[in-house]
Amino acid sequence: MSTPFTTGPFKPEAMFAGAAAGFYELLKAFGPQGAAAPDLNSLSRALGAQLEQWLKSSQAPGPSFWGSPPLAAGAGFVPTTATGSAPDARATWDLLMRLAQLQTQLSAQWGEIASGCAQRFAARAGALGAGALTPESALKLYELWVDCAEEAYAERVRSEEFASLQGQLANTTAELLLLQRRQAEQLARAFGLPTREEIEGLERQLRELREELEESSGARRAPRTQPRPKPRPKPHPKPRPRAAPARRAARRRGRRPRA
C-alpha cells in the first residue's frame, strides 16, 4: 500500500492501483444508496477506522524524513556488546524505547485525524442528497471525503504538539542511526575494513584536490559529458599518380631524372 511516507522507485501504475483500490473500497462502504445510507454516523466511523489504518501503516519508518531509518526500526536489530561497548548497547536500547514512545504518540495523532475526518464527513455528507451511486455522485462523495481528510490532517499537523513530535522523531532517529554507525565502525575496525570515517577523510581530500585543480587550471572547460564533435571524415586521399619507373629510381638516388 502506498502511504504518504513511503516512496520507492518511480511506479505510477502502482500508486494509481493503490489509490483506485482505496476508491473502490470507499464506494463499497457507501453502498448502493451512497451518502444517503441510513446510518451516516456509523458509516463515517467505519471510514474513519479505514483511514486510521492507512495512516498507521505509514508509521513504520516514522515521518522522520532525515536519512535512512535506523537498522533497529526495520530489521529487529538487537544491540549487544558484540557490536559495541556495553554503554553503547544501553544507549541504543534507550533510544529504541524513546522512538517507540514517540511512535505511540504519533499513532494517537493519526487517530485524532481519522476521527476528525469522520466527524466532518458525517456532518456534510447528508447535504449531497439521496440517490443511487452514479459516477458523478461517487466522485462528489470521494472529493468530500478527501476534503474532510485534508482539513482534519492540516488542523492536526499544524499544531505545536505535532511539530514538536516531528522534531523529536527526527532527532531521535538521527541519534540512533549515528550510534549504530559507530557500532558498525567498531566492527569494521575489528575486521580490518575501511571505516566510514576513513572514507569520509578520503572524500574530503578528493574534493579539496578537485577544487584546487579547478582553481589552478583557471580554464573552465566544457564538461566531459559534452559530446565531442565528430571528427570530420578525412577526404578520401586521391591516389597519387604513380611516378614513372625512371623518376622513382632517380628519387631514390636523390637527383632529378633527366628529362
Partner: protein, 369 residues
Amino acid sequence: MSEGGAATAGLFFDLGGRIAQTLVRLNAAREVTVGCSAKQPVWSRGKTTLYRYLPLTAIAPPERAQHARGGRVRARPGSARPAPVLICFALVNRPYVLDLQPDISLVRRLLEAGLTVYLIDWGDADDADRGCDLEHYVERALGGCVEHVRGAHAGAVNLLGVCQGGVLSLIYTALHPRQVRNLVTLTTAVDFQTPDDLLSKWVRGVDTELIARCGNLPGAALNALFLALMPFRLTQQKYVRLLLSGADQRAVEEFVRLERWIFDSPPQAAAALTQYLRWFYQENSLVRGTLEIGGRAVNLKQIRQPLLNLYAAADHIVPAAACAVMGRHVGSRDYTGCAIDTGHIGMYVSRRAREEIPARIIAWLRARS
C-alpha cells in the same frame, strides 16, 4: 436486484473497466521521455553543469511568433542581443520541469521570444559532496555559471531563480549586484516563518547539527516530505481524478511526465541542506538581515536592479505570504510582485504556466532590455 442495486453494480463494472484501461495506458507511458528542447553542456564544476539551449531554428517563424505571446525581446539600442537568461533552479528538484514537453515549457517560450537561455543542473550530490555548503552553491557553482555566461555574452545576465533557486539567486544578486541586469523570481520565499508555512513548523525543532552528521539526504526522503504536506490529495485524489477523467493516452503520458518529475528529487548535500534549514526555516535570517555567506553579510537592500516576483496564490510548499513580502526587503525601485492563481506545481505545468507566466516574463524583460 433493486434499481439502485443494479445501478451500483453497473458503476462498479464500469469502474473496473476504467481501472484496467488506465493501468494499460500507464504501463504504456512508463518510458515516456522528459525534457524536449535541445541543449548542450557548456561549463561544469563539481556536480554542477551549465547548459545552453540551442536556438529554435528548426521551428517555422509564424509558429514561433504565435507561441511567443509576450513578443520578441529586442536588444537595447547599441547592444547586439538581449541579455541572456540564466535559470537557477532549486537544489531539491530537477530543472527539467521547466521544459517538460513542447507545450509545457517555459524554456521553449523564452527561446521562441528570441532569448538565449542557460540552465543550471546541480546534479546528484554523492558522499564526496556532503560538505558542499551554501557558499559552494552560491559562489562557486552559481557564481561560476554567471561568470561563464557573462564571458560568453560580454555583459550582465538576466537571472531567473525558481523556488529554492530563487533564494540562491537573491543571495547571489545581493552579494554581486553588478553581475545581474534583471532578476526574476518564481515561487521564491523570503520570509520562512509565515503562519501557514507547514514545512517551517515541522523543521523548527530539528537538530541540524545532528542531521548533518547523518550525511546526505536521499531524494526519496525529500519526495516523502513534500507528499506528506497534503497526503490525501497528492497520493490518492489525483490518481482517482485521472481514473474518472477518461484520460486518453496523450493525457496519461502528460500525467506520467509530471509524476516522474515529482518522484525524482536528487539527493541533498548534508551541509547545504542543514544550513538551509537552520538559516532560513529556523532563523529566518534572510528577512532578519543576519545571513552571512562566506563571511559576507547578505543584505537584500543591495538588490537594486529591476525585480519581477511571480508566486502562486495557492502554494502548499512556499506560501504566497512567504513570497509576497519580497518587495519590502529588497532595494529595487523597479519591483513587480504578482500572485498567479494556481498552486506550486501549477506554476510549472498548469494552463497558466503555459501562457500567462512566460508572457509576463517575456514582456517584463522586453521592457527592460
